[in-house]
């Protein structure tokens, strides 16, 4: 395990350097790589980290600017419509009353930046690239009964619950610069991470301008027994149900035989 831990960063770094060799000539560029393309969920999975490496490339055309470089790394999970509900009192008991459906929201979102997101650029750019949780545009999926004045409460609650559940996060002092141009950040992936195809995007900003960006795919998948069980349960659900019943009958029968008292 520790051997793998050392090897992965080195491989990542190599990948960065190789990618750099083939990059087109631009004033400023950004190359990045991940410590792994696939996160495997196995029976002992309790969360992991994915390391993003990158390098800011400069050439003769680079104009010297006084502002420092800023980096933002955004890891976002598969998107779907997600419902947020609010309980209200009805006939003395607390029941789900109002609901708001947000369209195409990422199931997972981690934003790592060198400075608090609002200092990095304009609202338009930050919203376009989802840099920062406050810049996540939560669009309403369909006509909703929630009055406009109340909608911000739903948005705020959604973000609060996602943050509390560890599915959304925003950190702004976790990008390490190894040299002037080489950086690294480690994004924690929690135990309850949704499976699917993720996008990892690194952005290079300076003085409010987006200079370069690069995107890498990341797949989070169950493997082995977990993947097979899930696949079986969804693909052959009747057979899966029957198997569960047989297993239960066998366990019950076996217990009856082992602990037979008469």
């Amino acid at each position: 395990m520790s051997g793998r831990r050392i090897l992965l960063p080195i491989l990542g770094l190599l990948a960065v350097l190789l990618a750099q060799a083939g990059a087109p000539v631009r004033a400023e560029g950004l190359v990045a790589a991940l410590s792994a393309d696939v996160v495997r969920i196995e029976s002992n999975y309790t969360g992991t980290n994915i390391v993003v490496f990158g390098e800011i490339t400069r050439d003769a055309g680079t104009v010297g600017r006084p502002d420092p470089y800023d980096i933002a790394v955004v890891v976002s999970g598969p998107e779907s419509n997600i419902t947020t509900r609010r309980k209200g009192r009805f006939l003395g008991i607390w029941v789900n009353r109002d609901a708001e459906v947000f369209a195409d929201v990422p199931s997972f979102l981690a934003v790592h930046t060198t400075r608090p997101p609002h200092e990095l650029s304009s609202r338009a750019i930050l919203e376009e690239h989802r840099i920062g949780l406050n810049f996540l545009n939560l669009r309403i999926a369909r006509a909703s009964d929630v009055p406009i004045s109340d909608r911000d409460n739903f948005r705020a609650a959604f973000l609060r619950l996602r943050l509390a559940g560890g599915l959304y996060s925003e950190r702004h002092d976790v990008i390490d610069f190894l040299s002037n141009s080489l950086f690294r950040t480690s994004v924690p992936l929690p135990a309850n991470i949704p499976v699917g195809d993720y996008k990892v995007t690194a952005y290079l900003l300076q003085g409010g301008t987006l200079l370069a960006e690069t995107q890498m795919p990341l797949r989070v998948a169950k493997t082995g027994f977990e993947q097979y069980t899930y696949w079986f349960a969804h693909q052959y659900s009747a057979a899966y149900g029957l198997l569960a019943v047989l297993l239960a009958v066998f366990t019950g029968w076996l217990a009856g035989v082992i602990f037979r008292r008469d």
């Binding site: 607390w94 899966y240 198997l243 019950g252």
Partner: protein
């Protein structure tokens, strides 16, 4: 030790689940009940999504009732004809339950219906059991004799048409209340993730006048088949049966049940019923408190719809 549940998609402490299965198994052995009404709430309160808790406990109930059925079968204490009639209703009730389960889930009201049903049924049945056991204890203390059932004794149920003869139970009754009873218990069992033995046994004794020695085995067989059907139907309609969770619960449950059964033989019947009544009432009250108290967090985010896993 954490183990990842492939269907619930979250890791859980293996020993905690094993312990819950064992504790509920102990109580189920002690009282001669399936224990679903205790296990489902325990799973829900420990953070497993309600849909998965309910569907998975139906599987666990299959295992615990199988042990019982085998034991009663060996002693020939099952009325198969009666069980078959109960099942006709049970499977229909269970299918309706699974259908409604899916609808409530999309409406976001599944948790509410589960809580409300728990409050209603557990309070009602727990109250009746408490009353009955206290009366039995008072009777025993005063030395009065318990009047046994006389063969000719009838109530309104025996006036219904479509009568059928059940030789093993020495009964000649209408099949309407039998199928109806099976359907109601099958429906509730599927929605609530319980076997329903604690409702079925009193109903068979007091309503249909089935002899007490036949009741438990017959009710267990009915529960076994209805819950098996519910497991398959849940697996097909909502894919919410978690086989890893079920296995942990089953193993803990069957071991706990053995110790419970041994303990149960040392306690008197009315004492057992009093304890069970308090337990049933306690779970009902716990759900009632949840519904009546203002929650700390008013908002909730639905789990993301299950996406097809990339191949």
């Amino acid at each position: 030790m954490q183990v990842y549940l492939p269907i619930a998609e979250l890791p859980i402490n293996m020993f905690m689940v094993f312990g819950m299965g064992g504790a509920v198994g102990f109580l189920s052995g002690l009282f001669g009940i399936g224990g679903g009404f205790l296990l489902t709430p325990l799973l829900i309160f420990s953070g497993i999504p309600p849909a998965i808790s309910v569907a998975t406990v139906t599987t666990q109930v299959v295992a615990s009732s199988t042990s019982g059925v085998v034991a009663y079968w060996r002693r020939k204490m099952i009325d198969f004809k009666l069980a078959w009639m109960l099942l006709v209703g049970g499977v229909v009730g269970s299918a309706v339950g699974v259908w409604l389960f899916g609808i409530l889930q999309t409406l976001g009201q599944l948790d509410l219906v589960i809580s409300l049903s728990y409050v209603t049924f557990l309070s009602a049945i727990g109250g009746l059991m408490l009353f009955e056991s206290l009366r039995a204890m008072a009777r025993r203390r005063s030395g009065a004799k318990v009047t046994a059932r006389r063969p000719g004794q009838h109530n309104w149920v025996h006036g219904l048409p479509l009568k059928m003869r059940f030789y093993r139970s020495r009964l000649y009754v209408s099949i309407i209340p039998i199928i109806g009873l099976g359907a109601i218990i099958g429906f509730l069992g599927t929605i609530l993730g319980i076997g329903g033995g604690f409702m079925m046994v009193p109903a068979l004794i007091y309503l249909l006048r089935v002899p007490t020695n036949i009741v438990i085995g017959t009710s267990l067989l009915q529960i076994l088949v209805t819950m098996a059907a519910a497991t398959v139907l849940h697996a097909m309609s909502t894919q919410s049966v978690d086989i890893v969770l079920a296995m942990l619960l089953m193993v803990g449950g069957v071991i706990g049940a053995q110790f419970g059964a041994r303990m149960g033989q040392k306690l008197r019947g009315d004492q057992l019923r009093l304890l069970l009544a308090l337990l049933v009432l306690g779970v009902g009250v716990r759900f009632a408190v949840n519904l009546l108290m203002q929650p700390d967090e008013l908002y909730a985010v639905d789990p993301a719809p299950i996406l097809e896993q990339a191949k």
